[in-house]
């Protein structure tokens, strides 16, 4: 039995992905040990042309967008518009375990690819299609983007500001694509388990639109049951009716998230004790405030005192001391703050990846940790075509060998 320190070691994945949804899933499989061969057109995947770029170098090997989603992969260039390109793809698929494809139906047809036929021709192959709207249905060829996916799928309707003259605001970081990848990943793992059991591969059709439509949290059950709509609010849950602000500005002009819950005695007492320890509890220590009804009646007074309390302390102090008081409070970290976080440091979360000419760059570490196995060592996203000769030579040799037999 092969070395199994990485659960997906020995699996071969061919990735024909022109967007983040497919690329992120390829990366997730690579991190668990699969050999992921990214097939790119001769000019490179379109994702290589999306910035930001490392040190401002606008070339296909310096896109940080590409780096983020393509670590630990091999890059092979092939022109699928030419017979030899298509032959390379078919050669790679001959012994592949997973084929990731982001082409929508019209593009598949134009490329001469039929995913159902591929799945049929390769009975053990898992064909993962991950597309904006899925392979079927009236919108199957509609164009999308992260913003459009979050809008049509529903998450965007819950995000934005209290002021509804401002449109809903897209949460940052490509979350529409990430949502699609999350389900693509679950789908591939389920299909691998199915294959362990039955020996059969299959075709998986993942729609980013549908993935977003089930990633709206309470908006769905509020519609399923009481049939009410939720309305967006600044940096807190969209709700059927308005709730109080949960974002508090601190002395360092940064924010903490904290939901003031008046109905729970324990949380209330912790908050008042914490405020009192800084001499800022004011009238909240008075006995009548131990009565929930009184607190609720004087709610705006309480909220104002809490606002003042946070305004005089730095956000990280409020985070640490509030958590020490047992309150669920979170500091709004900016990305650059994370590298100094003592907790993440203690867990050795960030992993360093060597980049030629740049040096070591910290990348986010494992999403999940296992006691008996783990991820492969993280390596940089491949330069365009870095593995073309190596990988296609193998395919050519095998094709010749098969011809001999």
């Amino acid at each position: 039995m092969a070395e199994l320190k990485h659960p997906l070691a020995g699996l071969k994945v061919v990735e024909l992905a022109h967007d983040i949804a497919g690329e992120f899933e390829g990366r997730l499989l690579a991190q668990m040990g699969a050999e992921v061969i990214k097939l790119e057109p001769p000019e490179g995947s379109p994702t290589r042309r999306v910035g930001p770029f490392a040190k401002g170098r606008e070339d296909p090997d310096s896109s940080l967008n590409f780096w983020f989603y393509n670590s630990n992969k091999k890059s092979v260039t092939a022109d699928l518009a030419k017979p030899e390109g298509m032959a390379a793809l078919r050669g790679l698929l001959a012994d592949a375990d997973v084929f990731i494809c982001t082409l929508q139906p019209r593009a598949l047809k134009a490329a001469g690819l039929d995913l159902a036929a591929l799945a049929k021709a390769h009975p053990r192959l898992i064909v993962l299609s991950v597309t904006p709207f899925g392979l079927t249905g009236p919108w199957a060829d509609y164009k999308s983007s992260d913003l459009v996916a979050l809008a049509a799928g529903g998450p965007l309707n819950s995000c934005g500001y209290d002021d509804h003259s401002i449109p809903p605001i897209r949460p940052g970081g490509n979350q529409g694509y990430h949502t699609a990848s999350s389900f693509a990943h679950i789908g591939v793992m389920l299909a691998l388990l199915e294959r362990q059991k039955t020996g059969h591969g299959q075709l998986l059709d993942v729609s980013m639109h549908e993935a977003c439509a089930v990633n709206v949290e309470l908006a769905n059950p509020y519609w399923f049951y009481p049939k009410v709509h939720v309305h967006r609010q600044t940096c807190r849950h969209a709700q059927p009716s308005p709730t109080q602000s949960a974002l508090f500005r601190c002395a360092d002009d940064r924010y903490v998230y904290f939901t003031l819950i008046l109905s729970e005695a324990k949380a209330w007492n912790s908050l008042v004790a914490w405020m009192d320890s800084r001499g800022m509890a004011a009238q909240l220590t008075e006995p009548e405030f131990s009565d929930v009804a009184h607190r609720q009646a004087r709610f705006y007074e309480v909220q104002e005192l809490v606002e003042c309390f946070f305004l005089v302390q730095d956000s990280h102090d409020a985070y640490r001391d509030g958590q020490a008081a047992g309150l669920p409070i979170g500091v709004l970290n900016a990305p650059e703050d994370l590298f100094d976080d003592e907790h993440l440091k203690a867990r050795h979360f960030f992993v360093e990846v060597e980049h030629e000419g740049i040096g070591k760059v910290p990348y986010p570490g494992p999403i999940y940790r296992f006691s008996s196995f783990g991820e492969v060592e993280r390596t940089a996203a491949p330069r365009l075509g870095a593995h073309t000769a190596e990988v296609l030579a193998g395919v050519g040799a095998r094709t010749l060998q098969e011809a001999d037999e």
Binding site: P7, G137, W223
Partner: protein
């Protein structure tokens, strides 16, 4: 035309038969002692239950799961805070939503006999899941070492906000706190304004999806090697993985995101899409998202707009120029969209090759979206107390793997007799004793 066979999901149409059965699917034969509660854990183990695992939810009658208590009731519009003092635990819609296809038992873990029963259930299971605050399972003696004594190749999935090691392991968290600490809230909003962050617990769902993936990876590994595992997932760490390329920009280029120009609302920094935003439509709080990435799409947009004169101005002549002049461009686009029907506009723009989508509500995606309807994403199941209810399907259409939707969520303790007697071999007399002593 690419065709894919209809997803072979199977739905229980009749409420009559709620009897536990042999399950189908890739996880058939995997029994899960499921200590999860709230959103993250229940949403993660729902994926296991959907695909054949025998997931046994272990609940405490004296400490009802929050989704059983929240007043999300059919036919009754209430807000979050308007909770009943003594809610009917079987009426909660959120619990039904998260716990379909699972079995449900009650065990009192503060009772010695309850804990002994839990040990027996673990011994009969090959997966144990939990998302309590760190320390709770330890208080019951349920460490990974102990679980391995009970079930040698056990997979022990531990889902928490901060992970089980490190100085903040015991920090309290729920979705919005995870989103704040991981950076996801900060990177969302208009420049120079307070962050708009998230209007949902996105990270409850995403942490659940990654916890489900981790469990599937561990089961795959065990099938190959016979080896179990303890899994530690920190929702904050999962969240940082979802920050996207800006994290590398900070790491590799030393960019500061606190310069007052970040984040950029609905505009992108990369690539130079313009117009790229959410524009008003006819009706109250109706909007459309439009994303134009190149000249061809710009020409498509203009054709739908009827080629207005302003569009030929030099400041809009190239993609780069449009990107640089979004402050001028966006109000012009918005003035054009504002009296149009969001769907008519979406379809017209898509027909012209422009990425556009109406901002849809849950009502829209459930009841008025022909794309979702044609693929059968949502489905209905009956429930003895709630009645017929709608469920979120799995947005993965398989040609072979079956999602067997055999039952809505368990009533509180619904499967006590089946699980304790038929699976664990508890005698009738012992069962009565456990019940009368308050151990179950």
């Amino acid at each position: 035309m690419q065709t894919v066979a209809a997803s072979p999901a199977r739905h229980a149409l009749s409420s009559a038969d709620r009897t536990p059965r042999r399950r189908e699917g890739p996880l058939a034969g995997v029994r899960v002692a499921d200590f999860c509660w709230m959103g993250v854990g229940a949403c993660a183990t729902r994926l296991l239950a959907d695909f054949g695992a025998e997931v046994i939810r272990i609940e405490d009658r004296n400490r009802l799961d929050m989704p059983r208590r929240l007043p999300i009731y059919k036919g009754e519009a209430r807000t979050y805070g308007e909770e009943d003092a003594n809610p009917d635990p079987n009426k909660g819609g959120l619990f039904n939503n998260y716990n379909r296809n699972k079995l449900g038992v009650t065990i009192n873990m503060r009772h010695a006999k309850g804990r002994a029963l839990a040990d027996r259930l673990i011994a009969a299971s090959s997966v144990v899941t939990e998302n309590f605050a760190p320390g709770v399972m330890e208080r019951w003696g349920l460490t990974y070492e102990r679980l391995r004594e009970l079930s040698p190749a056990v997979i022990y999935a531990r889902m928490s906000g901060f992970g089980h090691t490190g100085p903040h392991a015991e920090y309290k968290s729920y979705g919005p706190v995870v989103q704040a600490v991981s950076g996801l809230s900060y990177i969302s909003g208009l420049p120079g304004e307070e962050p708009s962050g998230w209007g949902l617990s996105y990270m409850d769902n995403e942490a659940a999806f990654f916890n489900a993936s981790a469990l599937l990876i561990a089961i795959f590994h065990r099938n190959l090697t016979g080896e179990g595992a303890e899994i530690d997932v920190s929702a904050v760490e999962a969240g940082i993985n979802l920050l996207g390329p800006v994290l590398l920009e900070v790491a590799a280029n030393g960019r500061s995101t606190r310069d007052g120009h970040f984040p950029t609302g609905n505009r992108l920094e990369h690539p130079n899409a313009a117009p790229h935003g959410v524009y008003p439509c006819a009706g109250e709080d109706r909007w459309i998202a439009i994303a134009v990435f190149d000249d061809a799409e710009w020409r498509g947009l203009l054709s739908v707009m009827g080629n207005p004169a302003w569009a030929s101005e030099v400041r809009f002549a190239t993609q780069a120029a449009r990107f640089a002049n979004q402050n001028a461009l966006d109000p012009l686009v918005g003035a054009w969209t504002k009296d149009k029907d969001r769907y008519a506009l979406m379809h017209a723009l898509q027909a012209a090759g422009v990425a556009a989508g109406a901002v849809q509500t849950a009502e829209d995606t459930n009841d008025h979206d022909p794309q979702i309807a044609s693929r059968g994403l949502f489905f209905d199941l009956d429930h003895p107390v709630i009645g017929e209810a709608r469920f979120e399907g799995t947005p993965i259409h398989f040609t072979r793997t079956v999602q067997e939707n055999w039952r809505s969520a368990p009533l509180l303790g619904e499967d006590n007799a089946h699980v304790f007697k038929s699976i664990l071999g508890v005698s009738d007399a012992e069962y009565e004793e456990l019940a009368s002593e308050g151990a179950i």
